[in-house]
């Protein structure tokens, strides 16, 4: 028999490290005489698209084409220390430091542009390759020419940005306090089909509503959401380190199975944008939020289909058959009782 069900799941995630762990970033940028910009940032590109994102932010801030940016990343011999890449903090912290570097460079840039255009530097905006007076758009100089003039006059052409979101620590006895600089949010919906003879769970549909604050690069956000959900699906249904007497028994890709293209649905990313005033252009990280709710979402769909609750990962065919009462022997873990796990005293 095949049973279908729908389930939902949700999560919140404190962004960054919290509780007084150092949480900062630094970015340097430099303007060449031809108007192109080089960015140095010490954070790693893991494949998530951080270097692209930083180039987008710098191009946006300076009003120059994205193609005119180039980035050098994560090299202690060349870049400033920008902290680790983890905790879904990169968009948030690295992004803010890149914006601050641009604003730092805009100081001397606006000063010279103001002199040349005879305009108050505070009135200048950077857009479409021009630096122009926002009240009189005819007064403008191309970014490219301004870059050349900066070099000719020996002005400062380098900018630095530093952003620090290190929080105070929470109370050691109660953990009360402002733990994180900001929080990320996501909810997912799954539809599953459970084969009650084989115990096999097929995910037919996986929709992921993830709050990106602002999607700086929508395709990359979708990529994080789709890939994150598939890692979550692996955790939900197939992935399990079998550790016996300390030995990781299935430590090979032939025995530790991760999802293939044939195991996954076409994840539907539903990007939600709740502006975060503390993020760059309102943005925040999505990498972890996209992974977190998937397993319980699938488990709740299994419950909707079968009436049975999955409380151990993964929901492998064996475990599902056991839940459905079709396999006799008990699992070791389900023999854990409340007595084994007392709540500590207040």
């Amino acid at each position: 028999m095949k049973l279908r069900g729908i389930g939902v799941g949700a999560m919140m995630y404190g962004l960054g490290y919290g509780y007084a762990r150092p949480d900062f970033s630094a970015t340097d940028i430099e303007l060449a005489p031809d108007g192109t910009v080089t960015i140095w940032n010490g954070a790693s590109e893991l494949g998530q698209g951080l270097t692209t994102l930083l180039c987008q932010l710098v191009a946006q801030e300076l009003g120059i084409p994205y193609e005119d940016t180039f980035i050098i990343s994560a090299d202690t011999g060349r870049t400033p220390d920008a902290g680790p890449v983890s905790a879904s903090r990169s968009t948030y912290v690295q992004g803010n430091s890149a914006i601050k570097a641009c604003r730092d460079l805009k100081g001397p840039l606006s000063e010279l542009a103001g002199e040349l255009l005879k305009v108050d530097p505070d009135r200048l905006i950077y857009k479409d390759g021009l630096v122009q007076d926002q009240e009189d758009p005819n007064r403008s100089i191309s970014f490219h020419n301004l870059a050349g003039e900066m070099h000719k006059r020996g002005r400062r052409v380098r900018g630095s940005g530093y952003h620090n979101i290190t929080t105070a620590d929470v109370d050691p006895e109660t953990s009360q306090g402002d733990a994180y600089a900001s929080y990320a949010w996501a909810s997912q919906l799954a539809e599953v089909e459970v084969d009650t003879e084989m115990g096999l769970v097929t995910v037919l549909r996986l929709a992921s509503a993830t709050d990106a604050g602002k999607a700086i690069n929508p395709k990359m956000v979708e990529g994080q959401i789709e890939g994150g959900a598939v890692q979550g699906l692996g955790f939900a249904l197939m992935e399990e380190m079998k550790v016996e007497q300390g030995e990781f028994k299935n430590a090979k890709l032939s025995t530790y199975l991760i999802p293939t293209a044939a195991d996954v649905p076409m994840v539907e990313p539903l990007i939600v944008e709740v502006f975060d005033p503390t993020g760059p252009y309102g943005a925040k990280g999505v990498a972890e939020p996209a992974t977190i709710p998937t397993a319980p979402t699938i488990f709740n769909a299994i419950t909707n289909a079968t009436g049975k609750r999955v409380r151990s990962t993964p929901a492998s065919p064996e475990r599902v058959l056991r839940l459905l009462g079709k396999l006799e022997e008990e699992e070791e873990e389900t023999q854990l009782t409340f007595e084994d796990m007392p709540y500590p005293e207040p």
């Binding site: 028999m1 180039c55 946006q60 994180y180 919906l189 929709a207 929508p218 992935e239 977190i292």
Partner: protein, 451 residues
């Protein structure tokens, strides 16, 4: 490139420049501009750490512990060192500085000295002229172990008389979260559900196994090119182990084949640097998939007991939970992963009364550390199970129940922190409601489908 090859390329199929490259991208924020790193990646030109080579390069290989908990009585490297082509066989004794590292607290040995604490802990490392000689040498190292009693589960690890993984005791960290009055909260509840949840260990399985490359440049700077989530922390830790000033060590990240948290920790970096420093030659150390899975970190297995109460109106009144997290033989980020789990055990909902405890416990299992989701993923298995079950018991729609209880600006998290306007949980849940309408989905419908 030869003339022939150029001619060949001209003949090849071409569709021209991709769409996204043709636009001039002013105002790129909000646009799916083409990634900066994608052309090298689609053409195979991107250089990953394991792709590096240099004239005179040696190949590194590591010997991993075969015992979960044992004293090292002796290591005989003589046969290994005699293999032709072998240039170095290093053990703990050969470390010039401190034999210690660790992402949060330095409790891990670079090469096991006197004692091993998990299967997969590096015991010796070899550099040889080629992979074949390196493998041979590793297979000829003889380690004499004296097995010790071991502990393989965090609940057992807390029992009196449990074997000690580290002298300071098996509790790495105990987090307490206390908000409101838990007794009162459960008194107000008309429905209470209580369960045990268990999550298994998960391997990150980035398609690129850990790899590093090291050499000494003309100025005497020790260079390490690697696949890392934090080059600067690697540099600090390498310098301490090699007893070098930090500014004489350079760590650069190459194109990375995925990390997902695992490469936040030191992987090959210290070992490959040690080999280059000792031999004076460039060295490449690339883990096989099996080695990487044994020796690197994974997602913490957890055991959770939790009870959650709601009143007749369907509002959450209290949550109480206890978490046992298996951090394995060394701490890695085990303090913070399991701490974060305690804070997030209730999920994105408002609880006036909240109490949780989490224990991050050492065992003789593989090391568990940071992995995309960082404890919150394990917490979600519990809180979403609890919430769903409460909705069912109260006869409420699962989405409505979540919307009724989710955090909103002005409401407080488990730590008492008050949510700001950037509280998006309601918006994501409403997006799912809309999605269900758009797709004609409902929680109540015939479950059975014809096979």
């Amino acid at each position: 490139m030869t003339g022939d090859k150029q001619a060949l390329q001209k003949e090849k199929l071409i569709v021209g420049t991709p769409q996204t490259l043709r636009e001039t991208d002013f105002d790129p924020v909000g646009k799916s501009v083409v990634r900066k790193d994608v052309i090298p990646k689609v053409t195979g030109k991107a250089i990953y750490a394991g792709d590096l080579h240099m004239p005179g390069m040696l190949i590194g290989k590591v010997l991993l512990s075969a015992q979960p908990h044992a004293l090292i009585k002796g290591i005989d490297i003589s046969a290994a060192a005699a293999v032709p082509g072998v240039k170095a066989v290093l053990t703990a004794q050969d470390i010039p500085g401190e034999n210690v590292f660790g992402i949060a607290i330095p409790d891990q040995q670079v090469l096991a000295d006197r004692k091993v604490r998990f299967i997969g802990e590096p015991v010796a490392v070899v550099a040889a002229e080629d992979a074949f000689a390196a493998e041979q040498a590793v297979s000829k190292i003889r380690v004499e172990y004296e097995p010790l009693p071991a502990v393989f589960n965090p609940i057992d690890g807390l029992k009196p008389g449990a074997p000690l993984v580290h002298e300071k005791g098996n509790i790495l960290y105990h987090t307490k979260v206390r908000k409101g009055n838990i007794e009162k909260g459960f008194d107000e509840a008309s429905v209470i559900v209580e369960n045990i949840y268990r999550t298994a260990g998960q391997d990150h399985a980035p398609i690129e196994p850990e790899a590093g490359f090291s050499w000494i440049d003309a100025e005497g700077v020790l260079n390490v090119f690697t696949s890392t989530q934090y080059a600067f922390r690697d540099r600090r830790q390498i310098a301490v182990v090699l007893n070098l000033p930090m500014n004489r060590v350079r760590v650069a990240n190459m194109t990375m084949g995925g990390g997902f948290g695992r490469k936040d920790d030191v992987t090959t970096e210290i070992l490959v640097a040690l080999l280059a420093w000792k031999t004076g030659r460039p060295v490449r150390l690339v883990y096989t998939r099996h080695e990487a899975m044994l020796t690197q970190t994974h997602r913490h297995p957890t055991y959770v007991r939790v009870r959650t109460g709601a009143n007749k109106e369907g509002r959450l009144t209290a949550m109480e939970g206890v978490i046992y997290g298996d951090t394995g033989a060394y701490s890695s980020l085990g303090i913070f992963v399991i701490k974060k789990m305690a804070l997030h055990l209730g999920g994105p909902y408002y609880y006036p009364n909240y109490k949780s405890d989490s224990f991050s416990v050492y065992t003789n299992n593989p090391i568990y550390g940071p992995f995309r989701g960082f404890g919150v993923l394990q917490a979600a298995v519990s809180h979403e199970g609890q919430i769903d079950e409460l909705a069912e018991k109260l006869g409420m729609d699962p989405l409505e129940f979540r919307l009724k209880n989710c955090l909103r600006p002005g409401l407080s998290f488990s730590t008492g922190q008050v949510m700001t306007e950037a509280c998006g949980i309601g918006a994501t849940l409403e997006r799912l409601q809309q999605y269900m309408v758009e797709n004609g989905l409902s929680f109540e419908r015939p479950q059975e489908v014809s096979a």
